[in-house]
Symmetry: C2
Subunit: 137 residues, 2 copies
Amino acid sequence: MSDLLERLRGRGWRLTAQRRVVAEVLDGDHVHYTADEVHAAAAERLPEISRATVYNTLGELVSLGEVIEVTTDGRAKRYDPNAHHAHQHLVCAKCGTIRDVHPSGDLLADLPTQERYGFAISAVEVTYRGLCPDCAA
Amino acid sequence: MSDLLERLRGRGWRLTAQRRVVAEVLDGDHVHYTADEVHAAAAERLPEISRATVYNTLGELVSLGEVIEVTTDGRAKRYDPNAHHAHQHLVCAKCGTIRDVHPSGDLLADLPTQERYGFAISAVEVTYRGLCPDCAA
DNA sequence: TCTTGACTTAGACATTGTCCAATGTAGGAT
DNA sequence: ATCCTACATTGGACAATGTCTAAGTCAAGA
């Protein structure tokens, strides 16, 4: 995602300090931040940044396909910058840790035609749930 | 789910009018209501029922394994009474309609051991997304 | 029928997200 | 280099969903 800013500028994005900071936060460790966590991390570098701007910017990044929105519980959405590699998620039922995983096989092929009800299916999301090694102990 | 009330009584549930009405609402058409929709439907039969009781009862039914909690977007959770038949969900990206579907194959087997990071995996949730026939038109 | 511990209620509160009017500014035009 | 202006940001009000608590109510066993 290092050339993200270039790609965005190419699409007519106005490059502001706020947007740069949000993009840099997501570009860091491969984590799954909530919007509030992104805001907190961004505010360390740019203290006046507002929540509204973080929400706006995250929404734009999602629309542009640069970031994926993940909802593993009913709580806050999380933002996954690993949008250019198809992957699924493994979630600890106890501590909530999220890991990216890569199932084998064609997930779409598992749904028979008569189970598609005429839908034009474009995406499959899989969440594996269980206990991580720490919580299982 | 017709013998639900019997099963619950067997587990020491105190059977109140409120709980009966919530269970009856879920037992109706095979829909995926939000908590507020359950509350509205329940209030038609029992006008004084409170939101808190509906939330409590739904939470209990989920804990008891009688109902499944589904989060397909970041909005309200939905409650699926079809808990005794393993199934997954097909969601229309435009209108939000949800259908229960039954993929073939062993979904768990698709995740290689080295992609499990030591987790003890106990469940797999799959959401297929696409446009339903009406919205695709 | 009495008693009691579990259940329900109303409403305050918490979390997450959205919207708006006022203000600021990036980047093209001059 | 400076100016313009459309687009971006801000702060705070508002909305949607869910949780908690103290006080009152009731199902079901004795």
